[in-house]
Subunit: 196 residues, 2 copies
C-alpha cells in the first residue's frame, strides 16, 4: 500500500499518512506550542517529506485545526461573526455559537472538547493559542481600540460559561431555555462588552 | 479507640466518625441525589446513630456543604450578595466571587472543584442540586419576577465562564487583567441580567 503513487507519480504515503502527519502534529503542538511547531518539523516527526505535509494541509493553521479535531473551524466562525453590521455583532456571535452546540453531533463533540480543555493543562494551552490566533486576533482587529482583546475575551468567557452551564452542568432553567430566549438575553451583553 | 465515651457517656465514635459520616454522605448524595438523601440514611451508611449525625452537622444542607468539600459556603455567599442595595448587586456578586478565586488557597480549591464538575456527571449533578438550592433559590426570591431563576442562572453562567477563562484556560488578556478592571466590566452585565 505504501508504495502506491498518485496520478502525478507523487508518493502519497500509506493509507494513514494523513493520520501519521496529524499524530506528529499533535505531539509537536503539545510539546512545542503553536509557534514552536513547523511544517518541516511535523514532516520529520511523521517520517515523510515536507512537501507531503503541504499536500495534505494548506497551512500551519489548517494543520492545527485538524490536529485539534475541533468540532468547528474557528476561522469560519470568525469570518461569519465579522460578516455583517457591527451593531448586530452580539446577535451573530451568540447565534453562531449556539448553532454549533445545538446540533446533535456538535454537542457531543463540543462537550468532549470542553472536558479535555478543563482536564488537561496541555490541551488548555493549545486552545489558548488557537483561540487567540484564530478568533481573538481577527475579531479584535475589527473591533478596534486598545482594549479590544479584553473585550473579545470577555465575550469568550460568557460563551464558554453559557455552554458549560447549559450543556455540562445542565443548570435549570438555563439548560432547557429556548435558543431564542438565550439569544435575546445574551446578545445585548456581548454587544455591550464589544462596543460600549 | 471506637469504644471511648465522652464526658456525657455518649459514644462519639472513633476519631474518624465525622469522616465516616462524610464518606457515607458523599456516597448517598452521589447515588440518590440531594432529595433522596436523609440524615437517617447517612447514619445507617456510616454505621452510627442518627443522633450522632445531628451532633456533627446541623442540617442536611450543612452536611451537603461539608460532604462536597466546597471551597466556600454557598449559603454565606448568598447572604453576602443579598446584603445591600439592589442596584449594586452586580458589583457585590462579582466582587465576592473574585475574592474567593483570588485568594491563593481558594484558587487551588476552586480549580479542583471546577475540574471535578466538568469531568464527572455525578459531581455535576450534585453541583446542580447544590447551586440550585443554596444560591439560585434564595437569590431568585429576592430578585423576584417569574423569570428570576433564568436571570440568576445567566449570572452564574458568566461567573463560571469568567473563572474558567481566567484561571483554567488562562486566556489573555483576561487572565492577567486587574481584579478592579474585571469588576468594572462584568458588574454592569450582571446587573443587566438581574434587573433590566
Amino acid at each position: 500500500m505504501s508504495n502506491r503513487t498518485d496520478a502525478r507519480g507523487r508518493r502519497p504515503g500509506g493509507p494513514d499518512t494523513r493520520g501519521d502527519i496529524l499524530r506528529a502534529a499533535r505531539e509537536s503542538f503539545a510539546s512545542n506550542g503553536f509557534s514552536g511547531t513547523s511544517m518541516r518539523g511535523v514532516a520529520r516527526g511523521a517520517g515523510v517529506d515536507a512537501a507531503l505535509v503541504h499536500h495534505y494541509f494548506d497551512s500551519k493553521d489548517a494543520l492545527f485545526v485538524e490536529a485539534m479535531a475541533l468540532p468547528v473551524d474557528p476561522r469560519q466562525v470568525a469570518a461569519t461573526v465579522l460578516d455583517g453590521p457591527r451593531e448586530e455583532i452580539g446577535v451573530r456571535i451568540v447565534t453562531v455559537f449556539l448553532g454549533v452546540w445545538e446540533s446533535p453531533d456538535g454537542q457531543q463533540r463540543m462537550k468532549a472538547f470542553l472536558r479535555s480543555v478543563v482536564s488537561s493543562d496541555q490541551v488548555a494551552q493549545l486552545m489558548r493559542d488557537g483561540i487567540s490566533r484564530l478568533i481573538l486576533a481577527p475579531v479584535s482587529e475589527v473591533i478596534g481600540g486598545n482594549d479590544a482583546r479584553l473585550r473579545v475575551s470577555l465575550v469568550a468567557s460568557q460563551l464558554i460559561g453559557m455552554a458549560l452551564t447549559r450543556y455540562l452542568l445542565e443548570l435549570e432553567p438555563l439548560a432547557s431555555a429556548p435558543v431564542q430566549t438565550l439569544i435575546d438575553r445574551i446578545a445585548p451583553v456581548l454587544q455591550q462588552y464589544l462596543t460600549d
